[in-house]
Amino acid sequence: MIESFFEVPVYDLPKAEKHALLQAELRELTAFHGTECEGYRAILDAYGPGDLPGGADAPLIPVSMFKLHDLSSVPQDQVFKTMTSSGTTGQRPSRIFLDADTARLQTRALTRIMTSFIGPKRLPMLIIDHPSVVKDRRTFSARGAGILGMMTFGRQHVFALKDETMELDWEALETFAAANAGQPIFAFGFTFMVWRYFIQQLEQSGRKLPFDNAILIHSGGWKKLEAEKVSNEHFKQRASDLAGFGRVHNFYGMVEQTGSIFVECEAGHLHAPVFADVVIRRPVDWSACDIGETGVIQVVSVLPRSYPGHSLLTEDQGTLLGEDDCACGRKGKYFAVHGRLPKAEVRGCSDTFASNQ
């Protein structure tokens, strides 16, 4: 029963209880999609119940399957929104079919997760992007959809960048800063864009923004920043020094599992909320890695009802750091992401701008 996931605290279920709850739900979802989605059924049949990769409860589906095939578990007239990944040029993006029910679950789950970090009160919000990425609401790119999703957690939205030139919109920023000086605000953007077009432009201008104990949520991978030798600590330090962001949280998520995101805690670890889990897999045989062992990240989520995306094998490497015992006090598994598997194809939300330059 999906409702039971909303009746428990988002980061406070001990592992035995969480595993039982999750396993029952995932098993039900696997059976449901096997009945309702022809393509998914063909995958289950191809292996047979005893030999499913990742186990019969929630077999592994590589995320790229959603690029190769339209996998949907609801009749076409119930699809109310199709999400696409930002994919690189010349490559087919993922297509994720949402019905009203799944979309609503995504919003509810994201709300539970976000309010546990930013509080129930909506704060004035700075979007570290330019307004045109959310203009055309018919085509939900991962970037636009991510921003629109986050905008519901703020008020008085202001875009920090002017347009495709990625220049800071000083006029908008100054008005926003004057209204919120010394206050906590909420900001969201994609990691690379936050660094390159916000933090670095602030740095070059020699100006600072006057917020206090402000919250910055960002997502989209460290690959480019690693190449520029920017560590998470340095990123946080600069965001704090230049704009008063005392609370900076990265998160790991993907368009194929919108809603059940993995947010970085105060201790710097990504956490599985009650709606989701991670399993790190050994590429040699897909068995589960031990704590501390690096492998390929599998993400599971109880939210996908209209498409068979409840158990996905990503193309990212990660390490499970522990379960129920993070210094931040949250329960559930916590882990670190090390970026794309070498040689796998390039994808991701915030790569689009710089790679087209």
Partner: protein
């Protein structure tokens, strides 16, 4: 010939295009060429770095004197009443990816006596740099006459240069696959010019189920299959990417599972170029085939290889996954391959199918493709007859002399 100023000589140093184009060819199997090839072979065998690349070791082995002597004997015996001469200038377009095979065609062209102009790609893999270095050393140490028949050049793609060389050459040898062949064909040859092209190729394996079951030495056979298919990430033109079983349904059912377990063990032991991302790519390919054609997946312990059983209709379709991903098909008789065989089929690595069966099949079915049928363990070995072409015949001309003895 102004655009020719952009042509940069890599080997030999200080050479120039006019001198190369004015050069006279040599007689086939000139002793200086034979010596040069042997030296190159020895240099490859002596290089610790080259020994790490099996394809360079294979080239070194091919270049030994005994092998050249064998080729010469066959060459001499072919047309005893005619005289064979070099065609003249051979213009070679080398491929940009991993490929030592074009070096064989260069060496064979030298044996034929031709003057050789080689266009190297501007992007080249690491081992081809190594090969270039060794080739360069051996060329620079050779006599002026021998240096005179080799010109290895680089130039950015410029059709006017390719046009000029194409008009000028007597034979053009184009490696690099369909795209390169298509591009180079935009440059016309002289009316008498000839051409050898090497488009994209696809290879497979055919195994007789009864023969596999009866085989008492399965481990080395499986290891040969692993070497055939997993070197070069299964992406060489000769790497088998599909496996066809011949036999009764019962025999195939028994043989298939047993065979793949042996191959899996062999692949695990050989561990040729494992990539984590490759495991994800194979999982994706399994499921793609499941959804597209209702393929079933052969259960295996590990991800070193991955095998899907597919309907025969898919046999003609290319499988571009690589890294140890196989499509498996079942036939009762070889004849069933005829309808699927494509023009781009190159190598069949065969186990347990007698030569007579292959001959009968080829004659009766007249398949469009299939250039060579070789035993397991030989798929990647170069042969002077390649893609249906006898190099030494194609790179020479046959002069008929019908005249009294004295």
């Amino acid at each position: 010939m102004n655009s020719l100023d952009k042509v940069r000589f890599v080997v030999p140093e200080g050479a120039n295009i006019d001198a190369l184009l004015a050069q006279r060819p040599l007689a086939p199997f000139d002793p200086a060429v034979i010596e040069f090839i042997e030296r190159l072979g020895k240099a490859l065998m002596a290089s610790p770095q080259a020994r790490r690349h099996p394809e360079l070791v294979a080239l070194g082995f091919w270049a030994r004197g005994a092998n050249i002597k064998r080729m010469k004997d066959r060459f001499d015996a072919q047309y005893p009443d005619a005289l064979r001469l070099a065609r003249g200038l051979a213009f070679h377009i080398a491929p940009s990816n991993v490929d030592t095979i074009f070096v064989y065609s260069l060496l064979l062209s030298m044996l034929a006596g031709n003057v050789n102009l080689v266009r190297m790609s501007s992007r080249a893999a690491q081992q081809s740099d190594l090969l270039n270095d060794i080739l360069k050393q051996v060329v620079e140490a050779a006599s002026a006459r021998l240096r005179g028949i080799i010109g290895i050049v680089r130039y950015e793609h410029d059709q006017s240069i390719t046009d000029a060389f194409s008009r000028h050459c007597d034979v053009r040898v184009v490696w690099g696959g369909d795209g390169t062949v298509e591009l180079i064909r935009k440059s016309p040859l002289s009316p008498g010019g000839t051409e050898l092209t090497f488009p994209n190729k696809y290879s497979l394996a055919v195994v007789d189920a009864k023969a596999w079951l009866a085989n008492e030495n399965k481990t080395p056979v499986a290891r040969d299959f692993v070497n055939d298919s997993l070197w070069f990430g299964q992406m060489a033109c000769s790497s088998p990417r599909a496996l066809v079983w011949r036999g009764s349904a019962d025999d195939i059912a028994a043989a298939s599972t047993d065979f793949w377990h042996h191959v899996e063990a062999g692949a695990r032991e050989a561990n040729l170029g494992w990539e984590d991302a490759g495991a994800v790519a194979k999982l994706l390919a399994e499921q793609d085939n499941a959804v597209s054609v209702h393929a079933s997946v052969v259960p295996l312990e590990t991800n070193f290889i991955s095998v899907v059983r597919c309907p025969i209709a898919l046999l003609g379709e290319p499988n571009g996954t690589g890294g140890g991903f196989f499509r498996e098909f079942h036939v009762a008789a070889l004849e069933e391959l005829g309808a699927s065989a494509r023009r781009n089929w190159q190598t069949v690595a065969s186990f347990g199918v007698p030569k007579g069966d292959w001959q009968a099949f080829l004659l009766n079915a007249q398949p469009q493709g299939i250039d060579r049928i070789v035993p397991f363990g030989h798929a990647l070995n170069f042969n002077a007859i390649w893609d249906g072409i006898d190099f030494l015949t194609s790179l020479t001309r046959i002069v008929v002399i019908d005249a009294p003895q004295d």
